[in-house]
Each structure stands twice: as structure tokens, then as C-alpha cells.
Point group: C2
Chain length 337, copies 2
């Protein structure tokens, strides 16, 4: 609270009767220093409780030791897991993440990104968002950059991806194998990258078996929130659409769907089978526990972090397609009748 004068390397030098250069040398252990002076410096450091000023260090070294993370939402468990992965992927490296938030608004994302650049971050990780591809490409020429949950043509090497089509195909296929034919797909906003790919996987699986049903009729749109899932199913039920299973594009919408079914006296899975997507923390504890697709959020963050570090060190990176996995729990069962 008080404005105590910060102690600098000068103070240490004076106290230890050496030059600032020498202090720097013992602190960074760059060049051997006579042990008596070394001890004097260390003693002075301890006594004055000296703490190097990273800002000055960063200025002279030309690095900030910060990795900027342009994200969209800190409160969602989905992004939270990615953040966790990033954080862990960075521990021990000396780099700190700095999270800036875009809220899915291009304008906000642009200023957030600009903030990172001004702070001279040493690398940038972009998570989703709506910022124009062009801008990303520009930035990528200036600074190491990787992104996840997003795909930019021309920067394929720097996009960390999941095989959404296959993941979605697998989930749909699971329902088909249980005998379901009228499977509702609750999609998300088409502007978000993953949506179209997951829709594609759904169509693929459906078209393999449902030659006489038009799957287009079974697709309804939500905006990723629980409420939108609930509303979508309500609407379906009200117009007496027939279906025996639901595949929601994320867990939240599946939760909403679950509540809508409950409100209408429909049981999961006896009456309707339900599959989610993401495998959020909570899915194992819904009633009944939800069958879903495990999306490797933590791993994505972790790998993004490790990759950016490699890029900074000038190493080449080779981003794998991260695997998803269908987790069968208790919200799906064989179609009855």
C-alpha cells in the first residue's frame, strides 16, 4: 500500500561493494564470480530482500516471458479445461499465460489481441473466436502463434484440431446401432467452426442407413446454452415430431434437452436416448449419467502450450489430430418396438 522505494540492483551493488554488473552475474549465474564477492552479493540480496524487476529484465532482453491467450469465455467449463491445460503445459518453462477475453465479439477480440501485441508477448494461442482469418495470418508473421478450436487456411501447421466429423459420426452411429432411426441432431451456431463439421458427421452416419428419411428434417438449431437445448426439444415435442433419440452438439444443450423431456414425462433412456458432446465434468453425474463424446480439452490446451514453446525456440512442430472417444453411460439404450 505504501510506496516504499523499491530496491534495485544498484542498492545491492553498493551494499556488497561490487558493480551492478557483478550482481547481475551472480544472480543469473552467467559468469563465474569470486566466492567472497559472490557471498557478499547473496548476503545483500537476502538482507535487503531484493527482488529483480522483471519489467526491466524483459526490456533489455527483448522478451516478456508471457504467452498471450486470446480466449472467449473464462467461466465456461469447456474453456476452463483448455486454460488449465495451457497453464500446466507452461509450468516450469518460465513463461506465464496471460488470458484476454474476446466474448465472441470481433471488435473485442481485435483490441484484446492488440493488447497482447503491445505487451510484447512472446507467443500467442488463439482459442476459437470470430476474428478474421486475415488478421490471424498477419499476426502469425510477426510472432509464434498456434490456435485450437479454429481452422485458418494457410496456417494448417498451426491449427490444433480434433476430428469433429468422425467424433460426430461415431456418436450418431452408436445410436443407429442401438436401432434408432429418427435421431434429432441439436446443432449449434453455424458461425462457430465445429458446428458444420459435426453436422457433417451426423449426416454421414444417417445417410448410411436412413435412405428413406430426410435427416435435414431432424436437425434443429441451438446456441450452445442449456436453455436453447430445452427450447429446441420443447418445440419439437409441441409439433409432435416423432423421434426416439437425440444427439446434442454439446453437453449443455443435452442437459437442456434432458430437462425438457423430464417436463413432458419422457424418461431417458427408456423413452428417448440422449447423447451429448464434450464430456464435461458434470456429465458423469446427471441422472442418468450421460453418454457423450469425450473432447480432449485439457490435452488441447496442454499441447497448444507445448507447441508454442517449441515455436519460440525455433523448433518445428507437427500438430496431431487429437482423438475423441465415445463414452457410453446410461442415457442411451436399444430402441424399443
Amino acid at each position: 500500500m505504501e510506496k516504499k522505494e523499491a530496491i534495485t540492483i544498484q542498492d545491492i551493488a553498493r551494499k556488497a561493494k561490487v558493480s551492478p554488473s557483478t550482481v547481475s552475474r551472480v544472480l543469473n549465474d552467467t559468469v563465474p564470480v569470486a566466492s567472497d564477492k559472490r557471498d557478499a552479493v547473496l548476503a545483500a540480496v537476502k538482507e535487503l530482500n531484493y527482488r529483480p524487476n522483471l519489467i526491466a529484465q524483459n526490456l533489455v532482453r527483448g522478451k516478456s516471458m508471457v504467452i498471450g491467450v486470446l480466449t472467449q469465455d473464462t467461466a465456461s467449463p469447456f474453456y476452463g479445461q483448455i486454460h488449465q491445460g495451457i497453464e500446466q503445459g507452461l509450468t516450469g518453462s518460465g513463461y506465464q499465460p496471460m488470458f484476454v477475453i474476446g466474448n465472441w465479439q470481433v471488435s473485442e477480440e481485435l483490441v484484446a489481441l492488440e493488447t497482447l501485441m503491445m505487451r510484447q508477448v512472446d507467443g500467442i494461442i488463439i482459442l476459437g473466436g470470430n476474428i478474421p482469418d486475415e488478421r490471424i495470418k498477419e499476426v502469425a508473421t510477426e510472432i509464434p502463434l498456434v490456435m485450437t478450436a479454429r481452422w485458418v487456411k494457410g496456417l494448417e501447421q498451426q491449427c490444433l484440431q480434433v476430428d469433429n466429423v468422425k467424433a460426430s459420426y461415431d456418436a450418431t452411429r452408436h445410436l443407429i446401432e442401438l436401432g434408432h432411426r429418427h435421431i434429432i441432431f441439436v446443432m449449434g451456431l453455424p458461425s462457430i467452426g465445429d458446428t458444420l463439421e459435426r453436422q457433417k458427421g451426423y449426416y454421414q452416419a444417417m445417410q448410411e442407413v436412413n435412405l428413406d428419411i430426410d435427416p435435414q428434417l431432424l436437425v434443429i438449431e441451438g446456441n450452445f446454452t442449456q436453455l436453447s437445448g430445452l427450447l429446441a426439444i420443447e418445440q419439437l415435442l409441441n409439433r409432435k415430431q416423432f423421434f426416439s433419440a437425440i444427439f446434442a452438439m454439446n453437453d449443455e444443450m443435452a442437459f437442456g434437452a434432458m430437462l425438457a423431456l423430464y417436463r413432458h414425462g419422457l424418461r431417458v433412456p427408456e423413452d428417448i436416448s440422449l447423447v451429448g458432446f464434450d464430456d464435461q465434468d458434470h456429465t458423469a453425474y446427471t441422472i442418468p449419467p450421460l453418454t457423450t463424446v469425450r473432447y480432449p480439452m485439457f490435452d488441447m490446451g496442454f499441447m497448444a502450450a507445448q507447441s508454442i514453446l517449441k515455436l519460440i525456440q525455433g523448433q518445428a512442430i507437427n500438430l496431431p489430430l487429437l482423438p475423441t472417444q465415445l463414452i457410453v453411460r446410461e442415457s442411451t439404450m436399444r430402441y424399443q418396438q
Copy 2:
């Protein structure tokens, strides 16, 4: 990726044929500058795509424009909401939050805190954690600091709090008014600040009516995870303990409890009433929707942010006791015989 030479204020000065001082002046608008030179500077800035180096700026100004946030967990929705609040409370101020993670480990928390200090953050917000009070007090003498979800004697002015006792009393009281007398309290780790207070509120309410029942027998311990809630109830059920209601200290444990009850064929609320704590995003979408206590996570973050800004500006702060609210949904009902 490439190491393009960054352009500095010198480059602008040269291009605009003025001195660096003048460039600084037009950029910061501190002193009027003749309009022709001004235009020349602005033109050069635009043409060279100049971006001020915040590190240099911070060094000379002696501020980092960063608020350090020592938190414990980025992935939990509970902390996520607080982070969101902090982020929003800081927007427009020019300050950025920097989150560092302690994982509830004192050693990690200490280094995380040290990192913040070395980075010369202008203020610190501490969220929970196990760092010794003494250390917090030391830091508080050096730098503006506020904390939430934590209480340090001697720094009461800087602790943003919720009336846990009352919140917990209210929740218990709600069950009592519904006729319940054997109410299980699922507590969290006693090392975490809130735990004891909430336990106190529970006892208070219980002792008002249950003069013949020893509420101590009804308290079981969890560690805040869903699994621990599940296990606790399993155990209870296995030893045939009688109860008609459960009050869990956080929503996660309530979710776990819910599943345990479901596994044993017990219905909520017909057989057992259940109350959670926090009002996480998800609680409105459990089956049935969960009665819980709304904990103002976002507001806490927001207010913490605003307060730290005030402290930095040398203003006094007066932290209110934030209100909680019982949200009655569908997991509680009148005790049936």
C-alpha cells in the same frame, strides 16, 4: 514467426522529422504539439504501423498496468465466475488481470505470488488459498491487495465476504420449515475458510428446533467433488442412517448425492429433499432442478476488481458483506410423515 525488427519511437521521430519527445507527446496527448508536426507523426505511426512497447512504457512509468490474481483453479465453474467478474470489473481501466494458480498448495501459491511481485503488478487479488496469513500481511504492506473467499485478521478492510453463516442457516431453516428434522450436512474440507462458517449456520438452525437430536451425528465430510458427495451418501445409506433431507456445502457434492440416491432408488424430492450451495450454472438443469443458495461469485470478482482499482488510486474502500439468496427449485418438498 520471423524476427522483423520492431519499430520504435525513434523510427517514427526520424520519419516525421521531429524528436522522440515530440512523438511521445502526440501519442500521449500530454502537451500540445503544432498541428503540422502532429500530423506528420500520426502519418508516420500509421505508415510504419507503429505499436508502443508497453514494457518500456511500464518501466519508465513504474507501473505494469497489471492486476495479479492469485487463484486456485481455472477449470472450476465457481472460480470461473469470479474470474469473469474480475475481468469485467477491470475492463476500461487499462489494467489487465494476470491469473496465477496455486492449486491449493502453499508452496505453489508462494511462488505464484512471488512471480506476480517480480512482474511488478500494481495490485493483487487473492482468491482463497492456503497461503499463510503472515505472508499476505507482508505483501499487503507493499502493494494494494484485496481478497475474497478468505479472511485475514488485521486486514478486515480488504476482505470481501459473504455471510456464510446466515446463508447456511437460511438453507437449513428452509428444510426445517418443510418439516424435516433429520438433515444431513455434507461439509467440505475444514481447512477451507467457508467450511466452518457454513457448518456453524447449519448448527445454529438445527439447534433451534432439534433439541433432542444431536446434529453432530448428521455431519459428514467431503472434499467438494461430486464423487465425495456420492461416496458420503453411499456410506450413510449403507449404515442405515435415518434422514429425510440433505444439505450439501456446495453444488458439486449435491450432484454426487443426487446420483447416490438415484442408485438406491430414492427419489428427490419425494423421498429425500436436497439443497445445494453456490447456484452454479448447472443447478437449474438438474433433474429435478436443484434448490440451492445463490453465492454471488461474479459480483465478488467484479467488486474485488473495482476495489483494487480504488486502492491503486489511493481512494478508501469499504467492502460490503455480499448477500446470498436461497433459490427454491424442485429438489425440496414437505416432509411426508
